[in-house]
């Protein structure tokens, strides 16, 4: 085997320390809002609050994370309590009678914004599924009902409230089948056959984005990939995440062709997206090498590195290839060196292309208790297994 036993042990310990001593305690200590419920998710480097807005994606993902940890270990009642703290707030304030879920709430739960998208609903249902398992509630029907809403929001044109325009050539965004596949992984649990057709539909839908080894963010109607920036957009971290979502299902379904495809998605996206000049994964690139229009395209964000770290470790666990192991180590080294903050806990989120920190906060409108602990936890589990 390529890593020696002692190498594996030392890595396992490193991930364990990072997760249980540096990352989770940050959220345990600073995030609960004991006055109004839920979590503060806009926390500066030292845990101090800089914005009391409660972003629902991150409230729900934190519920999911702590529920997951509790469900796997049942060790720590604090985790269950922490999850319940957020679930209670979400149930009270985030979800409307029609199953739509707000994007953001004030500190005391008043709605600020509803996106014309279905991601809040997806993170909500994932929280609900893990939490109900942890708390022992039987919410199967509620979850099925919510999933029905989500499926409609995803595929009925205009259902999210965004008008359908004849000139909009984007037929499908990668994010939609991806998150649905991840949602099903969370809610199906021991009832996977119930979602059989949806699972296969999502796998097919994701596969359509894969053209000549590139995972395109947007599928356009006439099949042309060149007329607009949107049609050429690649997001390497996102593609890598799609890769491991697919690999989980390939393992579950024992589909060896899909297993191979999923591993190659991770490898190809990494090589397309790695910055050979300054290291790190670009946030966005243009498939034809043109200038992306996103202002932040060349920044190095924490989450693509989280996805890549786990993606390559999963690849290695599945195939045992040296290249995957080495790329796991490479990404892990970059991520720990640039994002980790042993002093204050949690990770920083944003670097410029050259690797210099641009934002001091640990939690923000799109960063919370999720990508870092999820990746560390998933990696830790694989490392223990190896």
């Amino acid at each position: 085997m390529i890593p020696t036993q002692s190498e594996l042990e030392s890595l396992t310990n490193e991930f364990q320390t990072e997760l249980f001593e540096r990352v989770l305690p940050f959220w345990m200590e600073y995030s609960p809002d004991y006055q109004y419920g839920g979590y503060f998710n806009c926390l500066d480097r030292d845990g101090s609050l800089y914005d009391s807005t409660k972003h629902v994606w991150l409230q729900a993902r934190q519920v999911w994370m702590f529920s997951k940890l509790y469900n796997d270990h049942k060790a720590d009642l604090q985790w269950l309590e922490m999850a319940g703290w957020g679930m209670d707030f979400l149930t009270k304030y985030a979800r409307r009678a029609d199953n739509r879920v707000y994007f953001s709430l004030t500190r005391n739960g008043e709605p600020i914004y509803l996106q014309r998208k279905m991601f809040s609903e997806c993170f909500y249902i994932m929280a609900l599924a893990q939490y109900s398992k942890a708390s022992g509630e039987h919410l199967e029907n509620e979850i099925k009902d919510m999933f029905k809403t989500i499926w409609e929001l995803a595929f009925v044109p205009g259902a999210t409230g965004r008008p359908v325009m004849p000139g909009n050539m984007i037929e499908q965004t990668l994010a939609v089948p991806m998150i649905l596949l991840n949602v099903i992984e969370e809610i199906a649990d021991d009832n996977k056959s119930f979602y059989d057709s949806e699972i296969h539909y999502c796998i097919q839908a994701i596969s359509k984005h894969l053209i000549d080894g590139k995972m395109y963010e947007n599928l356009v109607k006439d099949g042309s990939q060149s007329e607009t920036s949107a049609s050429r957009l690649l997001s390497p971290g996102h593609a890598i995440e799609a890769g491991w979502f697919l690999q989980h299902w390939a393992l579950e379904l024992q589909d060896s062709a899909l297993l191979e495809t999923s591993a190659n998605i991770i490898r190809n996206a990494f090589h397309q997206g790695w910055d050979n000049e300054f290291e790190g994964l670009f946030y966005f690139i243009d498939a034809d090498g043109k200038s992306p229009t996103q202002l932040e395209w060349d920044m190095k964000l924490w989450w693509p590195h989280c996805e890549a770290m786990y993606g390559f470790l999963l690849n290695y666990a599945t195939f045992g290839l040296r290249e995957d192991w080495e790329l796991f180590l490479k990404v892990k080294a970059y991520a720990f060196e640039h994002f980790s903050d042993p002093k204050n806990g949690e990770w920083y989120g944003y670097l410029n292309r050259q690797g210099r920190l641009t934002h001091s906060f640990k939690g923000g409108p799109y960063k919370g208790c999720f990508h870092v602990p999820r990746a560390l936890y998933y990696c830790y589990n694989v490392l223990k297994r190896l």
Copy 2:
């Protein structure tokens, strides 16, 4: 006088060359879409097309720019023709029967996206006003009718289609009264008394954003400026632009208190927003020095430097102070050195904090034939006058 006559002459020539030999020819040569009408606005450094989407803000602003040049000089029929080329496309495809104006269109004019904002409508009316003056059409009633729509979109809650949410504490964004004031400057022309109450309303509305020398982007309902990032957001270039919009009106209305205020807005915003470590104006900052959440906050964009260049020159023309002249020269030097492209024409738009180019294009979804030629033209006119 601080600048010598020869200094002034040399600067005037420099601005003339930049505008008439490098910037305008770029758009004359590469932007017209002779097949479907309108302009290509997504143009790479050498003028090559990378996206055929027609962004209405930029279509309308280019119409405005060429109409303005033609109206001031009547010298070049090509300018009128160029303006008509865009106006024709806009009239055909951008405006709906209810006066709403799309944000983006396909190459052949099909609607892609309608924002739940009123900026497309504002740029459309500015184009219409300048162009009708150039073409000799009498569209006074149409313009008044359109302005009525814009005013409603600006001030009737929910009129843009964005639902009103009880938790949304933002009462007013600076952009709204600013753009309205600029719109009135364009459409009122020789009938300013007609818009008298709107002019004063907008000036008052902008003034509310000015608290302790800082121009806040968002006014929040309870007056608190500390609970959310949005309530502490400053955009130095935007504040400077507000400063010169106000100064135009202060000169027009012969309001010396407003004149003084407007000049100080420009000076304060510059000092708050200038990056003393790497030079250039930050895109966004937090009024209390916390970490902004916008990923692009520390980037150096072309347009804040365009606004600052003209803002300080206008200040100098009004007050004759050495500090304003020196800051004009400082910003002008940074802008010409970093953004100008004498080889291919037009300016680049985006640099990282350190001043390194991050995007190769000259035109994109938010950059077109507008900020650069407007600033160069306004500066050129002031320099000639001095």
